[in-house]
């Protein structure tokens, strides 16, 4: 599982970790029953504060993505992939909403915005 953290992107670091673990579970990079990296290991790999990782893991447990297995750490819960796939759409939609709001406030018309969105999608397809 590869995560990338950007402290400047407007989302709290713990929130970025929560989202990216969910995306990894949704995409099957981290499968049902598989062990998530330990707090210490992930903190070191991302060079972020371990308390931040611990907070993200607590959130992921509360969101029923991870569960703790006594003595061995945290594993991906049963049915978590489906839940994460559904949530992934919601999270991305919310992000898109803020961008679209900004586009609208900047004075662009709906058609202009649609053209821009299509252009970016085409660029990604290539």
């Amino acid at each position: 599982m590869q995560l990338t953290i950007d402290p400047d992107n407007g989302l709290a670091i713990y929130d970025q970790i929560v989202r990216q673990v969910k995306y990894a579970v949704a995409a099957g990079v981290l499968r049902e029953g598989e062990l998530a990296p330990s707090v210490r290991e992930l903190a070191k790999r991302l060079t972020v504060n371990p308390n931040t990782v611990a907070r993200a893991y607590l959130q992921l447990q509360a969101d029923e993505v991870l569960e703790s297995i006594r003595g061995s750490g945290l594993i991906v819960r049963k049915a978590a992939p489906g839940r994460c796939r559904r949530e992934r759409a919601d999270l991305i939609q919310a992000r898109l909403r803020t961008v679209l709001q900004e586009a609208k406030q900047s004075g662009l018309g709906v058609d202009d915005i649609r053209t821009l969105v299509d252009r970016e999608l085409n660029r990604l397809e290539k």
Partner: protein, 310 residues
């Protein structure tokens, strides 16, 4: 919570210059605490005071419950410290300096030291004087960590180091924190601090401008970009919640504390306000907000004669 470092109303001056001006803060155990500030803001003096290497005129300091003035030797023995420019006997080989330092600590120090320098890929048989700056810093870090101190103090640990060595330093800090140890660092590297710090304290000319949990600070503060209808319109009054603001043309930028949703809404619908954006500030914006010149001190438009300067 157990406090590893306590500063209470600490004052220090060098001659006429006030270096620490009634500084108070606590560093709770098991956290990464970052001291930020410009050169000369009092970061190094704070660190020296913690280690008993300099004595404040007034106020009290406790480190691991000890008084640095009285128990400086014990404190220096129990904490790990990496100064900005580590001084080491340059004619010694890496392993010799480890062996030399081991004499001051409990058994096991030398083995730990060798394990660490090898993990850092430092050649153990090389003389200190033949090592690069990065390698030398890694030796200093290994020396500071090999007695497994409950508190690690780093003064500008990564300044002047290449990205790979910086990363190794950051990993070591993170790993300390993951094992419940406390780390205090003074730094200029805002983006590194933003990743690793639990708490930040910003010093400005010897005064503590702010100290808080980084996450709480980001929740509490908002970076506003306000477009007003005419350039002469002042920033709407916000009950002294504005930490820093300046205007460029018709846009005000402001760092604001504890802005409530009704206040934001009132700003949005203010008759002179055309548009407003509010977002979570980055640590850099917070830093500039607390340290930058205040609105009053800043010329509203760039001065023509200043622009002529090279």
């Amino acid at each position: 919570m157990n406090q590893v470092i306590e500063f209470h109303d600490v004052c220090k001056r060098f001659g006429r210059q006030i270096v620490l001006d009634h500084v108070s803060f606590n560093v709770p155990a098991g956290n990464v605490f970052a001291l930020l500030g410009e050169n000369g803001a009092g970061k190094t003096t704070s660190i020296k005071s913690m280690l008993g290497l300099c004595t404040p005129e007034s106020g009290t300091i406790r480190v691991l419950g000890l008084d640095p003035h009285r128990d400086g030797t014990e404190i220096r023995h129990r904490v790990g410290f990496v100064p900005e420019q580590p001084q080491m006997y340059s004619w010694m080989k890496v392993e010799e300096i480890g062996w030399f330092a081991a004499g001051f600590y409990a058994e096991g120090f030398f083995d730990q030291f060798i394990r660490r320098v090898e993990a850092f890929h430092v050649p153990r048989g090389q003389k200190i004087e033949n090592l690069s700056k990065g390698m030398r810093s890694k030796v200093a870090l290994a020396l500071a960590l090999s007695h497994d101190p409950e508190l690690l103090i780093l003064d500008e640990p990564t300044s002047g180091l290449d990205p790979l060595v910086r990363r190794e330093f950051l990993e070591s800090m993170v790993d300390r924190a993951a094992t419940g140890k406390t780390v205090l660092l003074a730094s200029h590297q805002i983006n590194e601090v933003e990743r690793v710090a639990d708490y930040v304290a910003i010093l400005r000319e010897g005064k503590l401008a702010v100290v808080d949990r980084l996450e709480d600070l980001k929740e509490r503060l908002a970076q506003l970009l306000i477009t007003v209808r005419e350039s002469f319109v002042p920033l709407p009054d916000l009950n002294g919640q504005v930490i820093h603001s300046f205007r460029r043309g018709r846009q005000w930028q402001a760092l604001v504390a504890d802005l409530t949703p009704p206040q934001l809404e009132a700003l949005r619908t203010h008759e002179y306000v055309e548009a407003i954006e509010s977002r979570r500030p980055s640590l850099e914006e917070i830093f500039i907000g607390y340290l930058g010149p205040s609105a009053a001190a800043l010329p509203t438009e760039p001065h023509p004669s200043e622009e002529m300067q090279p």
